[in-house]
Point group: C2
Chain length 118, copies 2
């Protein structure tokens, strides 16, 4: 049966170790709990001054930027992103998402189920 | 290598048969051309008065609503959706997306590669 919801009603999980990952909220909109068969859709909100960890993993990201001003950092460079931009991070590519503005930086990030930790 | 782009720079494919599907533009942001290994990310823009076909298929949709006012129709009912809402359409569930307002109705729709026709 079709499941419809409001993303702001999902309880976020906060990631912040004060160093490598800061002010990052993750909301799983569609994933294992909804019996998604192949991939998961998550919404991230990174507060001002926040960032995701600089890391790599054996699965891809497909990303769409929703709000705020951000920067993607990767091996050898970085690039600003804004709402309406999208990104494909192939498996095993290093990457980090940084809030480069004063407002929340929001994006959707889809991963295959092997990359969903719950 | 990370691929970053602007969704408005993607050339859309128009779907309009004057009856079952009307004023629907599809932009493939990430898919087979980018060597996506598992699933595809597309952006749909449905103009005022437009709709996607009422149909079903053996793969799922994961959807995030970006702009405008819309309606999801399904077996036995319908429901309004607005920006910030999301939907999971399981495999083989009937569904249709209808523009219920005067502005463009926009959403992202992810599918496994078996459901991507190019």
């Amino acid at each position: 049966m079709i499941h419809i919801g409001r993303s702001q009603d999902i309880q976020p999980r906060l990631y912040d170790d004060g160093e490598n990952v800061r002010s990052s909220e993750k909301r799983i909109l569609v994933g294992p709990k909804e019996d998604a068969p192949n991939f998961s859709m998550r919404k991230f909100t990174i507060g001002s001054g926040g960032c995701s960890p600089y890391h790599t993993h054996p699965w891809e990201h497909e990303i769409y930027f929703l709000a705020g001003r951000g920067e993607i950092r990767y091996a050898g460079g970085s690039r600003p992103v804004e709402p309406g931009d999208y990104a494909f991070v192939p498996p095993n590519d290093e990457h980090q998402f940084v809030n480069a503005g004063n407002d929340d930086f929001e994006f959707l990030c889809m991963v295959p189920l092997e990359g969903e930790d719950g």
